[in-house]
Amino acid sequence: MDTIKPKYIVLTAVIIISLSMGMVVISWFGSSGTDTRNVLGVPPEMGGDFELTGPGKARVKLTDFRGKLVLVFFGYTYCPDVCPTALLTLNNALKRLPETDRKRVQVIMISVDPERDTAKSLETFVKYFNPDFIGLTGTAEEIAQVAKNYLAYYEKQPGGTKISYQVGHSAFTYLLDGQGKVLRIFRQKATPKEIARVLQKNLASL
């Protein structure tokens, strides 16, 4: 026993915790392919406020949007397929709402690639889809903390170079109230119609 270095004990603990967290996430979200619902319930203890860097390098808090509904998506600007699809879908969902209701919903994309995504590049990216959308980034630690709070995960995919790589990421959209409470989770396949219906229902009770 004496020969096992503390370093290895810590490493083993980290691996075990990571694996069990992964299992929890998968069991909440996955249901092994039999679950075809696009609007999911919310695991307990998910959510919370966050503070990240937004347009013009201003610090932005989730609670700045108190009184609104907030749709949060984790993505990155080098993403050519999933992220544009998600942002187009959210924009199409908003278009289904009356103008006055649209103003009560804030869409936020949080970067899972803080190494390459700057506040400026995120701003240009999300504004293409809708001038009211906001992109947030931060330090690697800040992003990791927010992702952890929302059970979102991401990883650099192998095969890239230092500046050219892809990031695999969970592609859920979270519907939050402005205080960090997660109301609903949308799968990537959720349609604008499905999202709009949930938005309308939650706007009515906001």
Partner: protein, 166 residues
């Protein structure tokens, strides 16, 4: 007679839009999704039909408008989305394969300019047997034909086109 002329006219229009690669291979509905002005990569989509009795295998793509092009597929597993680089993509004999958002796509990296809706982009598709075909892709906004209500119409047109070939 009148019907035949009409059918011929429809087929001619469709044939102009579709590129033929070697024997029995046809590419149609080729489009590239317009991206934000600073997009580092764009997605290219299309329908490839293989009318031959042999499986055809797509192995590469290239375009002079981009620094690099690769074949990719977005795969969702347990909520995690990943883009998987595809070394080869089989188009089954007498079958077809649709490249669409959230699925198979040509990943076009390092654009040499900002492409706008209405622009055309030439992409060369290379196959395992050494043959290749250059197809003109139209830059479009949004989700493409395959994911909206015109899907039905497209299938109908493709069906007609197939008829004309026999």
């Amino acid at each position: 007679m009148k019907i035949r002329v009409t059918m011929f006219a429809i087929a001619s229009v469709l044939m102009m839009q579709a590129a033929v690669a070697g024997k029995g291979l046809m590419v149609s509905d080729a489009w590239v999704r317009e991206g934000p002005p600073n997009a580092a990569a764009l997605g290219g989509f299309m329908v490839i039909k293989n009318h031959s009795a042999k499986t055809r295998t797509l192995v590469k793509a290239s375009s002079s408008g981009f620094g690099k092009a690769e074949l990719h597929r977005t795969v969702e597993h347990d909520g995690m989305s990943k883009m998987m680089h595809q070394k080869k993509i089989d188009i089954p004999a007498h079958g077809s394969l649709t490249f669409k958002p959230g699925d198979y796509h040509i990943m076009l990296m390092k654009p040499k300019k900002t492409f706008k809706a209405g622009d055309h982009i030439k992409i060369t598709l290379g196959f395992a047997d050494g043959s290749d075909v250059t197809v003109k892709y139209t830059v479009q906004k949004g989700m493409g034909k395959g994911m909206d209500h015109s899907k039905h119409k497209m299938n109908h047109d493709m069906h007609k086109m197939e008829h004309m070939k026999h």
